[in-house]
């Protein structure tokens, strides 16, 4: 029999392989050449330094939203509101990035902090409502997503600009872009990936090494036993949501201070927060696993842009991603199949 850690590793890999295989079958059905399609996908990322950098830029916010959702899952909560937290983090970072003047050592950290704080506050609301009134965090945070979408649009159009679709660029002192990196790749590659990797460590340390993480996990696993042990259950729920929101807020800053250097109005969600759910699940809710799954997502999203050169429409890659998620979500079926195989071997 497999141990559970082995399972946590094997199932995502099998899911990805099955997803890619199913994608190939779909391409075949619609008359495209899957080998050429996947070749284009691969080349779309690895053919040029420019696209490799673009991929890193794509991976960075995925890591952070993946962490946000994984952190909530690990402490017994479902933060489906990461989407809204990304948006408020994004605009908060841009606001600080455009509104004040300060040297980089102050300006950039302050802008990042603003994003984290905004995301944390956005998650605090469903957290406190759950702790005090027992309202389910999924309901509240979904609604908070819409509030965030429309609020940020209003702020951009009517407060930060005069009826414009986009804010001005953040000042260089608050920007994550770096001349050296730009010179190296000719891309928009920014320093955000360092922030994201650092936050991976932060999540790992909080969950695995601190008193706080011990409490948060205990409450997530068993509220009754936590109460028996003298922990404050409600307070821990709020803290969990706040930390989760903080990660998501930073994901917004990666866009606002890095990839785009600006905030613009959206008619629909960025999907960074929603994709983060898949990233977290594929990564087994483990911070290091999240790096791997976020990389895969970033790779697929950027590479997909190139698939049209092989005549494969972009939508196919969305289908492949959806299939991978489907296979992850039905991980227990894979687990069952593995066990059947094991049994067969023995006979």
């Amino acid at each position: 029999m497999f141990s559970s850690t082995k399972f946590n590793f094997i199932i995502p890999i099998i899911s990805v392989v099955l997803g890619l295989a199913a994608g190939a079958i779909i391409m075949l059905i619609f008359g495209y050449n899957p080998i050429l399609g996947y070749q284009a996908l691969w080349n779309g990322v690895f053919d040029s330094g420019f696209f490799m950098s673009e991929t890193v830029n794509r991976i960075t916010p995925y890591i952070l939203t993946g962490l946000a959702i994984a952190f909530a899952f690990r402490t017994g909560l479902f933060n489906i509101g990461a989407e809204g937290q990304v948006l408020v983090g994004w605009i908060a970072s841009v606001w600080v990035g455009t509104a004040i003047d300060a040297p980089t050592v102050i300006h950039l950290p302050l802008a990042l902090l603003a994003a984290a704080a905004a995301g944390a506050f956005w998650a605090f609301i469903p957290g406190i409502l759950k702790a005090k009134l027992g309202v389910h965090e999924v309901i509240v945070s979904i609604m908070m997503n819409y509030v965030a979408l429309h609020l940020t649009n209003y702020l951009i159009r009517d407060v930060m600009t005069d009826n414009s679709e986009s804010t001005e660029q953040v000042k260089q002192t608050a920007s994550l872009t770096n001349d050296f990196l730009i010179g190296l790749t000719g891309s928009r590659l920014h320093l955000g990936f360092i922030v994201a990797l650092f936050m991976v460590l932060v999540m790992w340390v909080i969950l695995e090494r601190t008193k706080l993480g011990y409490e948060l996990k205990a409450v997530g696993y068993n509220q009754h036993a936590s109460n028996y042990a003298g922990m404050k259950v409600g307070r821990n729920i709020v803290i969990s949501m706040v930390i989760s929101g903080l990660f998501a807020g930073l994901a917004g800053a990666m866009q606002g201070l890095g990839s785009f250097g600006t905030a613009f109005t959206n008619t629909a969600f960025s999907n960074l927060g929603f994709d983060g759910i898949a990233v977290a699940l594929l990564g087994g809710n483990n911070p290091f696993g999240v790096i791997l799954s976020a990389s895969l997502f970033g790779f697929l999203k950027v590479g997909a842009l190139n698939m049209s050169t092989a005549g494969v429409p972009n939508e196919i890659i969305e289908i492949v991603i959806a299939l991978i998620i489907l296979f992850v979500a039905s991980g227990f079926i894979i687990r069952w199949a593995l066990l059947q195989l094991k049994k067969g071997e023995r006979k």
Binding site: H224, A225, N227
Partner: protein
């Protein structure tokens, strides 16, 4: 040749690192009640899961009615007429009895489920076996004992000839146990065979025909119950002599440790469950609270430990008023609590044994500096307690969920005693445990008393109350209605008191 309905021959089942069943043979005759006896973790459940198709054995063969079969899934077991009633019921609370029973094999009328027919069939079955179940009642509205009968009906509805019952009496009141025994006898009379997984020797002596003993995964043998006695069974099971009544010195009670005055506590429905209760416990004594489940014992303990709000009254620990303190402050002021429900309250099952050992102390300076936990120190403590309290676990990193009930309980008891509390509250500390573990736990409780601690024992088992307590407080309808000396009372008298009748003897009231 004997006519066996079930034969499991030389079964071997391995898990990574352990052999759960090693060469076990179990042969059940048609129409008998066959006990499967063993300590917690001896491999009883594994063996039954093999029979029920949940596990595949590495070696050995299974025969049903003399024919060799391969049971690789519970549906196969069902088809072969094997039914199992698990210790934790698998019922849907919001469904009716009949809906639960037909679930998965519903009688159909066209595309619709023929509920009328289902109710009729279930009611017929129930009447035939004298189960007295109301097929239209909702599961959430019926007692635990009734729910168990629904589980039995479920196996019968699916055509079971052999019914496996896993620790069926662990959740029942004494009255319900008597009724269950009658039901088991009826089932046998109707030609069914029963395998009873248990470690309660009294029940085996009372209802079983034969008994197969397993110890540490090994088949020890099968005995005729009529030719044995509880002492022999116990030594077969544990592999050494067992003392049923724990030896102890006379208590030497000293100063009052816990004092409860006029305590009133409501349950979650805002009904008074503890009504203006007074109770004192002194250092160096064990006070046993006897009572039928549901007379306010749970609420009393939850109120003392701060888990439940008190509506009136005062609780004092060593002259310190702890009435309105939060849980942690009460714990720190010297209260140890072995909770009744070890899965719900006592352990975080998905934490490792080591992490569970510091559930109330993780934040202390010894284990946490500047918010960072020292897992070295935590695990050192865990390893020490695992050794001292004989917690059988592959390692301190094993999840608490993976331990047997007895070992989970030993871990909790070790944790609580190690905090060196002045008052140790033990609620149903031996529930569902085998005689070896019970003996161990009773010894520990008495040891605490001898070291001058106050011990409050709540139990629904009269044997336990009579055996361990120095003073028995009988709780009925939220009040202590009598306090008696265990040496001057007996089960009959306690039974009457627990049912609410007043004590006639002069001076017995406290």
């Amino acid at each position: 040749m004997e006519n066996y309905v079930i034969e499991m021959l030389n079964i071997r089942k391995e898990f990574p690192g352990i052999v759960a069943n090693d060469n076990i043979t179990l042969q059940v005759k048609k129409g008998e009640i066959h006990a499967l006896l063993g300590e917690n973790g001896a491999g009883k459940s594994t063996l039954m899961n093999v029979l029920f198709g949940l596990y595949q054995p590495e070696k050995g063969e299974i025969r049903v009615d003399g024919k060799q079969v391969e049971i690789n899934d519970p549906n196969v077991a069902n088809r072969l007429g094997i039914g199992m009633v698990h210790q934790h019921f698998m019922l849907i609370d919001t469904f009716t009895v009949a809906q639960n029973i037909v679930l998965g094999s519903e009688p159909k009328k066209g595309l619709k489920i023929d509920m009328k027919k289902a109710v009729r069939e279930v009611q017929e079955l129930s009447d035939r076996y004298g189960l007295q179940v109301d097929a239209t009642a909702k599961i959430s509205d019926i007692s635990v004992g009734m729910q168990q009968r629904v589980e039995i009906l479920k196996t019968l509805y699916r055509g079971a000839n052999v019914v496996i019952l896993d620790e069926p009496t662990a959740v029942l009141t004494p009255q319900e146990i008597k009724e269950l025994i009658v039901i088991l006898r009826t089932l046998v009379k109707e030609g069914k065979s029963i395998i009873l997984i248990t470690h309660k020797l009294k029940e085996i002596m009372e209802v079983c025909d034969r008994c197969t003993v397993i110890r540490k995964g090994q088949g020890i043998g099968t005995v005729e119950v009529s030719e044995t006695n509880p002492n022999d069974l116990a030594s077969l099971m544990v592999g050494r002599e067992i003392h049923f009544s724990t030896d102890k010195k006379a208590a030497e009670p000293k100063e009052t440790i816990l004092s409860i005055e006029g305590l009133t506590v409501q349950d979650s429905r805002h009904v008074d469950m503890v009504k203006s209760l007074d109770l004192d416990i002194r250092a160096g004594e064990i006070v046993g609270i006897a009572g039928v489940d549901g007379n306010g014992q749970t609420e009393l303990i939850e109120a003392i430990t701060g888990l439940r709000k008190k509506s009136a009254g005062k609780v004092t620990l060593k002259n310190q008023d702890i009435t309105n303190m939060p849980v942690r402050a009460i714990t720190e002021s010297g209260v140890g609590h072995i909770p009744q429900d070890r899965h719900k309250l006592g352990l975080v099952l998905d934490f490792s044994v080591g992490e569970n050992i510091v559930l109330q102390t993780y934040y202390k300076k010894t284990y946490a500096k500047g918010g960072i936990l020292s897992f070295k120190r935590i695990f050192d403590k865990a390893k020490a307690l695992i050794k001292e309290y004989d917690v059988r676990t592959p390692s301190h990193l094993t999840k608490a969920r993976a331990l047997s009930g007895g070992n989970q309980q030993k871990a909790i008891i070790g944790r609580e005693i190690d905090r060196n509390p002045d008052l140790l509250i033990a609620a149903q500390p031996t529930r569902g445990l085998d005689v070896g573990a019970i003996e161990f736990i009773h010894k520990r409780l008495i040891e605490q008393r001898d070291q001058g601690k106050a011990v409050l024992l709540v139990s629904f088992e009269l044997d336990e109350i009579l055996n361990v307590s120095d003073r028995i407080a009988v709780m009925f309808d939220g009040k202590i209605i009598a306090t008696v000396d265990p040496k001057e009372t007996n089960e009959q008298e306690l039974g009457l008191l627990m049912a609410g009748s007043k004590l006639e003897k002069e001076g017995a009231h406290n």
